[in-house]
C-alpha cells in the first residue's frame, strides 16, 4: 500500500477516534481506558508477522517475547473490560429486584 493511502486512512481514523470517544459518558471512562488498552493489543498481529518471518533463533526469541507481551495486553485487556462492564450490566437487574428501586431513572 502506498504512503498517501496510508496517510489518508490515518487521518480519517483520527477523526473517527475523536468522534466516537467524545460520546462516551464519563461514567464509563475506566472501561473506555481499559477497552482502548485492549484494542492496542492488536500489535499481536504485527508480532506474529515478525515471528513468522524470523530466520535466526535470536530474532525468533525476541519476536516470541513480543507475541507473549502483546497477547497479555490483548487477552487481559478484553477480559478485564468485560468483567467491569458485567457489573454495570448486572446492576440493572439488582436494582429491579432490589429493595428500593429509583423511579424514573434515565
Amino acid at each position: 500500500m502506498d504512503g498517501t493511502a496510508l496517510l489518508t486512512i490515518t487521518v480519517l481514523a483520527v477523526f473517527v477516534g475523536f468522534e466516537v470517544v467524545s460520546k462516551v459518558s464519563s461514567t464509563l471512562h475506566t472501561p473506555l481506558m481499559s477497552g482502548a488498552n485492549a484494542i492496542h493489543g492488536i500489535i499481536l498481529v504485527g508480532a506474529i508477522i515478525v515471528a513468522g518471518q524470523a530466520a535466526n533463533p535470536w530474532v525468533l526469541a525476541v519476536a516470541l517475547l513480543a507475541v507473549v507481551l502483546a497477547t497479555a495486553n490483548l487477552v487481559g485487556g478484553f477480559v478485564v473490560t468485560d468483567r467491569m462492564l458485567h457489573m454495570f450490566h448486572a446492576k440493572k437487574d439488582a436494582a429491579r429486584t432490589g429493595a428500593e428501586p429509583k423511579a424514573g431513572g434515565k
Binding site: V16, N37, I42, A51, A70, F78, M87, K91
Partner: protein, 457 residues
C-alpha cells in the same frame, strides 16, 4: 501456508477495524457497552486468525505456544484482580503493549529499505519504550512498591534533556545507517526517558499519566502499522491514540490543570508536592451513633465516596447504608468526582460492583447545585476533591481544580482514617468548620457501625 489472497485479507482486516470502532462506540451507554467490548474481542480474533491464514508464516508452533503463554498469564490475573487495583493493571497491560510494539519495530529494522519506514521504526521504538518504562513506574507507584510522592533530584531536567537529545541523535543515525546496535541504544534511551518522565509525577496525577501513556502506546502501534504496511494496526493504533488524547485532556480539565503542567510541573518544582504540615487546630469528632442520628433523620443525604472507601473495600457497606436510608424514605445520591478513585470513572466501577444503580451516581456538574438542599453530605475516604482550597487559596497546588461543593450542605460528616492529608498532601480547612464532624476509623468499619446504628434507630 497461504489460504487467503490479499483482497480477502484486506477485507477481513477492515471487518476487524470496524469491530474496534463499534467497541468504542458501544461505550456511549452502559446498556450497550458490554456487547461492544465483545464485538471488539471478536474483531481481535478475526484479525489474529486472518494473519495466520494470509501471511507465509514459519515457526507456527512456537507462535501458538507464545500466544498460549501470554493468555495463560494474563487471563487469570485479569479475572482475579480487585476492582480497586484496576488502574495498576491497566498500566501494566498498557506497558507490555508498548514493549511489544517497540520489539516489533526493532526486528523490522533489517527489512526496512525505505528511510521513511525507518523513521516510523524510530518513532515506534522510542514511544513504545517510553510507554513500557513509564507504565512500569506508574504500576510501581500505584501498587505502592515505591513512594507515591514526586521523585525529583537536582539536575533532573538536565538529565532528561541529555537523554532526549541523545535519543534524537540516535534516531537520526538509525534512519540514515539502519544500524541495529544504535537501534538498541535508542531503545535503552527510550526506557530511560520513560522512567524520568513519570518519576517526578505526583501520586494524584498518576491517573492522567496512565491515560497519556495509553495514547502513546496507541501511537506506537499505529506507527508499527506503517512499518509493516498493515492497515489494521494503523487504524486500531490511531483510534487508541485519539481516545487516549481526549481522555487525558478531559481528566486534566477535571483537575483544573494542563497536561504540560502535570508532566513538567515537578521539573519546575510546582507539582502536587504540597505541604505536609498538619495543624493542631481542634476538630469535632463524632460517634457512629451521632452520625446515624444525623443521617437517619435527614431528608436528603449525598454520599461522597473517595479512594479511601475503595481501599477499605467499603463500597458494599456504603451501598447497604444507602439502601437502609432509602428504606427510611430518605433521598440518597452518590456524588462522583471525575477523578474520584485512581483513574477517571474508577469510582463508578467500584460502586457498580456494589450494585449501586447507575442512576444514583451523579456527576459533579449535576450534583453540585443540589448540595444546598442536602441535610447531610457524608464524605467517605475523600479529601482533595472536596477541599475548598481549590477555590479559595490561589497558592494551593490544587487551586483551580473543580470540587464537589460539600461545604454547601447543612452538615458535613467526614469518615477518615486519620488527620493525615490526602493524596495531594494538602490540608483541608473544611475539617475545622463548625458544621463538620469527623468519625475516625477504617472507612468500612465506620460505615458498618453507622449502618448498624441506623438500623437500630
Amino acid at each position: 501456508m497461504s489460504v487467503l489472497d490479499p483482497v480477502w485479507t484486506s477485507l477481513l482486516y477492515l471487518a476487524a477495524a470496524v469491530c474496534f470502532i463499534l467497541a468504542l462506540r458501544g461505550l456511549s451507554s452502559p446498556r450497550t457497552a458490554r456487547r461492544g467490548n465483545l464485538v471488539g474481542a471478536l474483531g481481535a480474533l478475526i484479525a489474529v486468525v486472518t494473519v495466520f491464514l494470509s501471511a507465509r508464516l514459519e515457526n507456527t508452533p512456537w507462535i501458538l505456544a507464545a500466544i498460549a503463554v501470554g493468555s495463560a498469564v494474563a487471563a487469570p490475573v485479569a479475572r482475579r484482580v480487585k476492582m480497586t487495583q484496576m488502574p495498576q493493571l491497566v498500566a501494566l497491560f498498557n506497558g507490555v503493549g508498548g514493549g511489544a510494539a517497540a520489539l516489533v519495530a526493532l526486528l523490522e529494522l533489517g527489512h526496512a529499505e525505505n528511510p521513511w519506514v525507518r523513521v516510523a521504526i524510530v518513532f515506534t521504538l522510542l514511544v513504545g519504550a517510553v510507554s513500557f518504562a513509564g507504565s512500569g513506574i506508574t504500576f510501581a507507584k500505584l501498587q505502592e512498591l515505591m513512594t507515591t510522592r514526586p521523585v525529583v533530584f537536582p539536575g533532573l531536567p538536565v538529565v532528561m534533556a541529555v537523554v532526549l537529545l541523545a535519543a534524537v541523535a540516535a534516531g537520526v543515525a538509525v534512519v540514515t545507517t539502519a544500524s541495529l546496535p544504535l537501534a538498541v541504544l535508542l531503545l535503552v534511551l527510550g526506557l530511560a526517558a520513560g522512567v524520568l518522565l513519570v518519576l517526578p509525577v505526583g501520586g494524584a496525577d498518576v491517573p492522567i499519566v496512565i491515560s497519556l501513556l495509553n495514547a502513546f502506546t496507541g501511537l506506537a502501534v499505529a506507527a508499527s502499522g506503517l512499518v509493516l504496511g498493515n492497515v489494521l494496526l494503523v487504524v486500531a493504533g490511531t483510534l487508541v491514540g485519539a481516545s487516549g488524547t481526549i481522555l487525558t485532556r478531559a481528566m486534566a480539565a477535571a483537575m483544573g490543570r494542563s497536561v504540560a503542567g502535570i508532566l513538567f510541573g515537578a521539573f519546575r518544582g510546582g507539582s502536587t508536592a504540597g505541604s505536609t504540615a498538619v495543624s493542631e487546630r481542634p476538630v469535632r469528632s463524632s460517634s457512629p451513633e451521632d452520625v446515624a442520628v444525623l443521617l437517619g433523620y435527614a431528608q436528603r443525604v449525598i454520599i461522597v465516596p473517595g479512594y479511601g472507601l475503595a481501599v477499605a473495600q467499603g463500597q458494599h457497606t456504603a451501598a447497604e447504608l444507602a439502601l437502609a436510608l432509602e428504606a427510611r424514605g430518605i433521598e440518597v445520591d452518590f456524588a462522583i468526582h471525575p477523578v474520584a478513585g485512581r483513574m477517571p470513572g474508577h469510582m463508578n466501577v467500584l460502586l457498580a460492583e456494589a450494585n449501586v444503580p447507575y442512576e444514583s451516581l451523579k456527576e459533579m456538574g449535576e450534583i453540585n447545585p443540589e448540595f444546598k438542599t442536602a441535610d447531610v453530605a457524608l464524605v467517605v475516604g475523600a479529601n482533595d476533591v472536596v477541599n475548598p482550597a481549590a477555590k479559595t487559596s490561589s497558592g494551593s497546588p490544587i487551586y483551580g481544580m473543580p470540587i464537589l461543593e460539600v461545604a454547601e450542605a447543612r452538615q458535613v460528616v467526614f469518615l477518615k482514617r486519620s488527620m493525615r492529608p490526602g493524596f495531594a498532601g494538602i490540608e483541608n480547612d473544611l475539617l475545622y468548620e463548625p458544621q463538620t464532624s469527623l468519625l475516625f476509623g477504617d472507612a468500612k468499619e465506620s460505615l458498618a457501625q453507622v449502618l448498624g446504628a441506623v438500623k437500630a434507630l
